[in-house]
Amino acid sequence: MPRVHCDGRDLTLSSDDNLLDALLGAGVQVASSCRAGACQQCLVKAVRGVPPASAQSGLKDAQRAQGYFLACQAKLTEDLTLSLSAARELDTPGSVVSLDALSSSVVRVLVRPGAAFEYRAGQYVTLIRSDGLARSYSLASRPDSDGGCLELHVRVFPQGRMSGWLASARALHAEVSLRGPLGECFYVPGQPAQPLLLVGTGTGLAPLWGILHDALAAGHTGPIELWHGARTAGGLYLVSELEALAARHRNFTYRRCLLEGPAGVGVELGNLDVAVLASATSFEGRRVFLCGDAQLVQQTKRKIFLKGAAMREIHADAFLASPA
């Protein structure tokens, strides 16, 4: 039985427990959110002992070397001494500088980092409020745009603790912490003539917006097709901006797909994955970005792969639901 020493306490774990549950079960306070290794909120550091490599997936090499790992992904096999607070040293401070509604259910949040913050458009950050509440959001901005601010598109849920706060004026000027950037869903320059396919639901448009602007700024010449799906027309946003971009860039096409009508010019009805799959006989040679609803992303990934896209060309960011 592995033993864990943290905050002056000794815990004995059964080998079936993941470390996060074991710590919480023992009454140790650990912040956590997604429990899937994505948000990195439960990042802890082994100050003595070697953490399981499988719990270090997605971390930077330097972080691995320093003994950081994700408690929710860790099944321990050997004794460790932990620091629960060390990960805060990795965070970047920031402040909320602007809030504006993009639609009735989506708020654009601009956060100004208080220190250098390197990222790629399309990656995501975990936004941590001063009371520890945390949620992950994709980055719609590019590092050299928006005056260095990070742009997040936040879907407002009726019971959402973070989104409800961000939708209110109370969040304006608030100090927050940023963990990340995380994720590998971003545009890499090179192969400027390759056709790009961007598919997203809801605020899955945020990373795609960033990726699209990155590609255009890099002078991408190949066709770029962006599909935005929502249940109803109210779920779409940045519509006129995207239409304007399509008018300005001949290689950019903007398409919408709604589950519930009415259809219109550039608007299809039905399931987004079905509409996208029907739009081409083969996806071989395309670079594909899929963002948003987890089930839709997984399904589309599989179908697009079966219809010819190479696995290494499919970049997916499945949004995970947070606990209420």
Binding site: Q298, K301, R302, F305, L306, A310, M311, R312
Partner: protein, 121 residues
């Protein structure tokens, strides 16, 4: 003599082969259900390692890993038929990439050699 891995073009060819092979597995009703709840990127990485191994490329194959990786599938009914399907699709994949009968037979023999590890016997 160089390995088939080198003859068909090394890592770049294996990458192509993995996509072809994985597609064949996903659309084959005899085995597709085993891939239903699988992370596609992780699965692809494992198939990359498997193909590299059976093609005689640089691999760190260990029979014990193969046993552990498939133990839960054996509980779900994984058996000889499924290994046969793998070898069948592997052969068809290599054929598409221009391998000859002799090379395909050699690869099938290596794949067959891990059958008992995969099936936990």
């Amino acid at each position: 003599m160089s390995s088939i891995y080198e003859q068909i073009g090394g890592a770049a060819a294996v990458e192509k082969a993995v996509d072809i092979f994985y597609r064949k597995m996903l659309i084959d009703d005899r085995v597709a259900s085993y891939f239903d709840d699988v992370d596609m990127d992780r699965q692809r990485a494992k198939q990359m390692a498997f193909l590299t191994m059976v093609l005689g490329g640089p691999s760190h194959y260990a029979g014990q890993d193969m046993r552990r990786a498939h133990a839960h599938l054996v509980k779900r009914g994984l058996g000889d038929l499924h290994v046969d399907v793998v070898i069948e699709h592997l052969g068809d994949t290599l054929k598409e990439l221009g391998a000859n009968e002799q090379q395909i037979a050699a690869v099938a023999a290596i794949a067959n050699s891990v059958r008992n590890d995969v099936l936990g016997r």
